[in-house]
């Protein structure tokens, strides 16, 4: 503010008047014609200045996103083993993928993992948000607590739940089962193929509930109190207010949270890495973990790249609405 009130040298005045004399079509120094509707232009400084301002972003973005994306596509058509020379195999990697028992298992694991973590975290978050909306002030502390689990590093989340699913009596879950007389149900939760995935799903969802809770709660607080009062006057009480007003009107928060958690689940890696490292017998490998295993521990880079592209396609499918929206808003 101050800077502009103090004023700069009125360098542009003369040029501006001259251009107004030209009529509605303005030209810059290079003679480029800009549309009639254009009001502002810095006469040739604008384009170089703009590129100067975005140049660092373009360079870093190119390195970190554009190049890797294109190169992953390219590599997926090559057979690369370690440092050896790449060999072009066309769709060979993809054919091999779909004949690979482990990959097919990773696909179904990814489906189960993504759906169950998203449903669990968003469902619990939404439920808690609706309940919290009945007493917004008094539930502040538990809300902050649950949300703060979202800020804990996933590696630490994994460790916390390792302590709960421990196979020995020092594991909280097994000890709890024993205490209530269900000793026969005690289990090596993470060592058994049939329960390991469910255990990680619970651990991961535990950390992810915070965001849906926060977003849905914000949505319930945005409901005008006049609507609830009107319903109250019309005779609506407790559960019917929740069912017919709070739940539908907070659905926007649910939609946003579902999308965020879906994307997060598809790319999840850390919790699986810490809790089971993909085991037992690769039963907890999602696509995001499978590609890491194949490319970074087996050094099958081309094969890993093909798996990454399958993951990318899954990500793109769930993001179509968001991409359309973002593209339309990018003006």
């Amino acid at each position: 503010m101050n800077e502009y009130e103090q004023g700069q040298a009125p360098r542009a005045h003369a040029t501006r008047r001259a251009s107004q004399a030209n009529g509605s079509v303005q030209r810059d120094e290079n003679g480029t014609v800009y549309g009639k509707a254009r009001k502002r232009t810095w006469f040739g400084y604008e384009v170089p200045a703009a590129y100067l301002l975005i140049a660092p972003v373009l360079i870093l973005f190119g390195f970190a996103v554009a190049f890797p994306l294109l190169d992953t596509i390219r590599l997926s058509f090559f057979d690369i083993k370690g440092l050896g020379a790449p060999r072009y195999v066309a769709f060979g990697n993809y054919v091999k993928l779909f004949h690979d028992e482990n990959f097919r298992q990773a696909l179904s694991t990814t489906l189960w993992w993504t759906v169950s973590t998203t449903v669990l975290s968003v469902g619990i978050g939404w439920f808690l948000a609706v309940v919290c909306s009945l007493a917004p002030r008094a539930t502040l502390l538990p809300r902050v607590l649950i949300f703060s689990a979202y800020g804990i590093s996933e590696a630490v989340t994994g460790y916390i739940w390792l302590g709960i699913f421990r196979p020995d009596s020092g594991g909280l879950l097994n000890a709890g089962l024993k205490a209530i007389g269900l000793s026969s149900y005690t289990h090596a939760w993470l060592g058994d193929q049939s329960t390991a995935l469910a255990a990680i799903v619970i651990a991961y969802s535990w950390a992810q509930v915070g965001l849906p809770l926060m977003l849905c709660f914000a949505a319930t607080q945005a409901i005008p109190s006049s609507i609830i009062e009107a319903a109250y006057i019309d005779g609506a009480r407790g559960t019917s207010i929740i069912r017919h007003i709070v739940m539908p009107l907070s659905f926007n928060g649910v939609r946003v949270a579902t999308f965020i958690n879906l994307l997060g689940s598809l790319r999840a890696f850390d919790t699986i890495f810490v809790m089971t490292n993909g085991g037992p017998v690769r039963s907890t490998e999602t696509l995001g973990f499978f590609m890491y295993r194949e490319s970074m521990t087996q050094f099958k880079l081309g094969y890993g790249a093909a798996a990454t592209l399958v993951l990318l396609i899954a990500v793109l499918i769930v993001s179509i609405p968001a991409i359309i929206k973002r593209t339309a808003e990018a003006t």
Partner: protein
């Protein structure tokens, strides 16, 4: 009626919150008990000793202090770079007109859907060829490059409400496009830039995959901790102390700035309503 329902609400939420309180409290207690007792379960009371042993020896057992500095350096540098570069680009995209503007913008803002896994194979090969493996640039470049997909959206959304008259006035007074940015837009965009900085710091601090793959000798806390955590040795108390050390800084920042975090996560996903 109203009172009864809010009492029920408080009761339900408090009970459910126990699922979050108990494990976190458990970690704290575990770190305060001797290894033998911690291995039996932090809730056991047959023999109950509180001790700071784990907190005294955890520094010698694991390279935590060094890792703490590495994490601070990585997250700090990545945050500064993002905070410096984002506003300039957001300003250019929002207020300046230049060829390919819309195309570049669309590509950048849609990159938020890309999982990190897309980056790792090509960058692994590139860093290997360039000898950048184990150089902090190997993780800083993707940290910063990937951040633009959401950070530019956060700042650009803020600029939508920026008064254009202010810019017009500065322009008439002879300010060039860079001057308008430096004197008019930047000083008034501090709030969203700080929000971007907080988010970027948290994500970089907690990030595991990239440093796990690209760094060898100087590794940040989550990587050190992930290596400790997966082992089934008996020193649960030491690992609990290490877990608290890994989580404490982001947790504090997170609790202080939760509002910005929820808002930023929304813009990050591209669904800001």
């Amino acid at each position: 009626m109203k009172h009864a329902s809010s009492r029920w609400a408080i009761a339900i939420v408090s009970i459910v919150a126990l699922v979050w309180i108990v494990p976190i409290f458990g970690i704290l207690v575990t770190s305060l008990r001797p290894a033998g007792e911690a291995a039996l379960g932090w809730w056991t009371t047959a023999q109950f000793t509180l001790t700071l042993d784990a907190w005294r020896s955890v520094w010698n057992q694991y390279p935590l202090i060094e890792a703490f500095w590495v994490t601070l350096k990585l997250a700090g540098l990545a945050t500064i770079a993002t905070m410096l570069l984002t506003p300039a680009a957001a300003y250019a995209f929002h207020f300046l007109r230049f060829p390919l503007r819309r195309v570049i913008l669309i590509i950048i803002v849609n990159a938020f859907v890309l999982p990190q896994q897309v980056v790792i194979i090509p960058l692994f090969q590139l860093w290997r060829d360039w000898g950048l493996i184990d150089n902090i640039l190997a993780v800083l470049i993707p940290y910063v490059g990937l951040s633009f997909a959401w950070s530019i959206v956060v700042v650009k959304n803020f600029l939508e409400d920026f008064p254009r008259e202010l810019i017009e006035a500065a322009r008439i007074d002879g300010c060039g496009p860079l001057g308008v940015f430096g004197y008019v837009v930047l000083p008034n965009t501090i709030a969203p830039i700080c929000a971007v900085g907080i988010l970027q710091f948290l994500w970089c601090w907690n990030s595991l995959l990239l440093p796990l793959l690209y760094l060898r000798s100087q590794i940040p806390l989550p990587v050190v901790f992930a290596r400790i955590a997966g082992t089934y040795d008996a020193n649960w108390n030491l690992r609990a102390a290490a877990a608290i050390l890994t989580a404490i800084v982001p947790l504090m920042i997170f609790i202080l700035f939760q509002r910005q975090f929820a808002g930023g996560a929304m813009s990050r996903s591209g669904s800001k309503e």
